[in-house]
Symmetry: C2
Subunit: 154 residues, 2 copies
């Protein structure tokens, strides 16, 4: 659908794609207060989670879980937040967001008003860690994939 932002664009920095999904790190204005914000986005234009079959859901959750584990391993967040909302863009996508006790919205959701000023030093330090986190995300997702016949010739 050409009028759907997630059919038209990657929806962030593209890190990985496969199994009917792609994984991006969010790169819009939403990341100012929560830079470690990843998305697992369906390749197909489908709106609701319950439109998927159980095997399709299991595949999506394996990817979401791999991203969450990579975030936990590399960033040691206070909490990981998962959400599939899609009100603005009804194309199925999971937000996977590392949250920190010092972030300006915590413990409220990232969509709530800020409760305190941004901690510029900690935000800068977190942003510096993101390439390492990106690499861990990609490694975790690659590890999930079934090797292709070419990789296992016999």
């Amino acid at each position: 659908m050409t009028d759907c932002a997630l059919c038209r664009d990657d929806g962030g920095l593209l890190l990985w794609s496969g199994q009917g999904w792609r994984v991006v790190r969010a790169s819009g204005g939403e990341v100012a207060a929560a830079p470690a914000w990843y998305r697992v986005i369906a390749a197909a234009h489908v709106a609701e989670w319950s439109d998927l079959s159980a095997p399709e859901q299991a595949c999506a959750m394996a990817l979401v879980t791999a991203v969450e584990r990579a975030l936990r391993a590399t960033l040691t967040p206070t909490k990981v937040n998962l959400a599939s909302l899609g009100n603005a863009v009804p194309h199925l996508h999971w937000h996977v967001i590392a949250r920190f006790g010092w972030d300006s919205r915590y413990p409220a959701p990232v969509w709530a008003p800020a409760q305190r000023d941004d901690d510029a030093l900690r935000l800068a330090a977190l942003r510096q860690q993101l390439p390492v986190c990106d690499a861990a995300v990609v490694e975790a997702l690659d590890a999930l994939s079934t090797p292709s016949p070419k990789e296992n010739p016999r």
Copy 2:
């Protein structure tokens, strides 16, 4: 854990429990703007989604999906929102929320500031539908459960 609100209390109007989870309809102040707000709550005190095994996740997602389908069938929402945040209460629970184009936050998440006044008439009509939705939720969850030996004597 006695200091955990979701270990201590049901966390809403208890509708169903089984398979290591319970399902409630939220009944706190958060429902003023979004009354069709359900939660699928882990019986055990576990914080992160990726702490669960794949079979445990599949069980949880079957319950979340059943709740979502019951909401869609009875309320015909504009969109269903799913989220597992747990910043305030780090005890794994899924929010399953029916959203409507007319609700005061839409299309923003329910945690964002209101964009318009509440539509009191539509909210009242929605609240009147909730017992029917509750019953559909329970029926859908019961249908997922393995029949007990008593129900299948031979």
